[in-house]
Symmetry: C2
Subunit: 339 residues, 2 copies
């Protein structure tokens, strides 16, 4: 019998409680791949959706997890570096393709259909392995990959964020939005955040948000956001709520603003074409990030010594509890898993 | 008593029938302006909306009309050219401002609040006067300005149209859309047009449209358009319908496509955020065109010897009939007024 390792496995659908720790065979690095000894992983909403069966192309049993950091354990055939033991983070996007504008989606994301990071070891293509920023703790490094690159692409590659922007960040609790706040602060933009939860707003304030609006207690949050922005409204809006929120965001954007969306939790949006054409707005969709985005993001973290928001660290056996925390939208920043 | 001239005036609201010919004082060119002797003018939907009171900031009585061509009659103080008698077209956008991205709207459009082109003479800023393309008839030259520059900005400045595009043009009958078809053909892009009227589709076909779809008789026009486009759908969509049409257009756009909108006749659009972020689409609003757009547009007309679609030419006394034709959406291309 070969070597075994511990992994958080999903053998059947049924929600977060179906996640459990199991001993499974330790993988070997494939040709062109690197075996990483995972120390910390992190959760994304995607992992929760998979346990609930709300994701295309689910194959079970599987080790979930897109985010991971650890150390290089073994190099596959044809791979000459980095050195064994190097501290690394993993880019979870597989086979982006040749078009910087859009992801080909041939390869999926780490953690489905490929075996993911909620395990002691994972084998990934060498190009997806990057040195971890030295100033980050293990928890922080694990928090970065998927949410960090999604936010990077939303802010910069798609949103063209600069210091002159007034950025509206709707629903600041989510993992990606905490990175958007981090990046907007790092370039010196003015930031306006919304949440229905005063504790999350306090966390955002502590991270440097300039204006915090509770959309549940405000009589008219979008008017408040427009007034706080000045200049006729926010110049950049980053949203993944969709629904009514997106419609309102479009209405309060200033002329020539960009509205970047990477999700639509609340579904269809009713949008007034007049707001778009009269103000010459751009609504720009984005999803994940390219290898180029990932490299630029790590550069930004290193340059500004950025630190992502870590919500809480769970042990492997607590994986269901960790996933429940995301499902309930209780977290601010990333939920980390100690492997 | 000073010199008089004939003009199509609107003294009170009440629809196209309120337009009538009147003798009014002949204007003098203001400082920095040029007096143009108008030979042909053309109608825009805007003129119809004004007669119906559906436009902001209406001041009556007024001479309507944004589009006009004719000859230079007199130069105002401080203006040194062009020579008297030069054949010119007028850029109807006043005071675009310094931001190429968006119009400041301080000056409005020719024909409200400024006195418009439905008259024997009009005084306009010298910078708005351009030599008319020589290959165009008077009717064609008059047809170009407002619809032509709106379409130019939609296609090029905002839409980044190239020969490699597959362009979906929804509702091809309108004045602007006939220019979009003209430009898309001129660069060699593949064109798909829709209309509820087979005669208009035949006109579009004659202008060079590659695929014509009647959305009233098709069981599923958007599926037809996607299939005809190939490559997963159109790469550029130009729309001013809004409503359900815009929602469907977003759903059938290929990954990384641009959806440019300059109007929203059918009102609010229900849009699936998923279509936008998953395919990384851009929805880009546009309105009118900058002086830069206008100059580039004239260059394009001259370079490719383009000819706009002229629907019909009316006499001044027939102005109500001309406006009714637009109100009923009966036209294909531009409705011209002989002065």
């Amino acid at each position: 019998m070969g070597a075994v390792m511990k992994a958080v496995r999903l053998n059947e659908l049924g929600g977060p409680e179906k996640l459990h720790v199991e001993d499974i065979p330790k993988p070997k690095p494939a040709v062109g791949e690197i075996l990483v000894n995972i120390k910390r992983a992190a959760f994304n909403r995607r992992d929760v959706f998979i346990t609930q069966g709300l994701y295309p192309g689910i194959e079970l049993p599987k080790t979930l997890g897109s985010d991971g950091m650890g150390s290089v354990a073994e190099l596959g055939e044809g791979v000459s570096g980095p050195k064994i033991g190097t501290r690394v983070v993993i880019d979870p996007t597989m086979n982006w393709g040749n078009d910087e504008r859009v992801w080909e989606r041939n390869g999926g994301v780490l953690g489905m259909p490929r075996e993911g990071t909620f395990a002691e070891f994972v084998s990934v293509p060498a190009a997806n392995v990057h040195p971890a920023p030295e100033h980050l703790s293990d928890d922080e490094a694990a928090a970065v990959p998927l949410a960090g690159v999604t936010a990077y692409r939303a802010c910069f590659s798609r949103g063209e964020l600069t210091k002159d922007d007034v950025v509206l960040i709707t629903g600041v609790g989510g993992g990606v939005q905490s990175f958007v706040l981090l990046y907007a602060n790092s370039v010196g933009a003015k930031t306006i955040v919304t949440s229905g939860n005063d504790e999350k707003l306090a966390r955002a304030k502590a991270m440097g948000a300039d204006v915090c609006i509770n959309y549940k207690t405000s009589e008219n949050w979008s008017k408040d956001a427009r007034d706080a922005a000045g200049g006729g409204g926010p110049s950049l809006i980053v949203d993944s709520v969709g629904g009514e929120t997106l419609g309102k965001a479009v209405d309060i954007a200033r002329p020539a603003a960009r509205v970047v969306i990477y999700g639509g939790t609340n579904g269809d949006a009713k949008i007034r074409p007049f707001s778009i054409f009269w103000k010459q707005l751009d609504i720009r969709g984005t999803s994940m990030g390219s290898p180029e985005d990932f490299r630029h993001m790590l550069r930004l973290f290193n340059k500004h010594k950025l630190r992502p928001a870590v919500d809480r660290v769970f042990q492997m056996s607590e994986a269901p509890k960790a996933a429940e925390r995301l499902a309930a939208h209780d977290q601010f920043g990333k939920v980390v898993l100690a492997i």
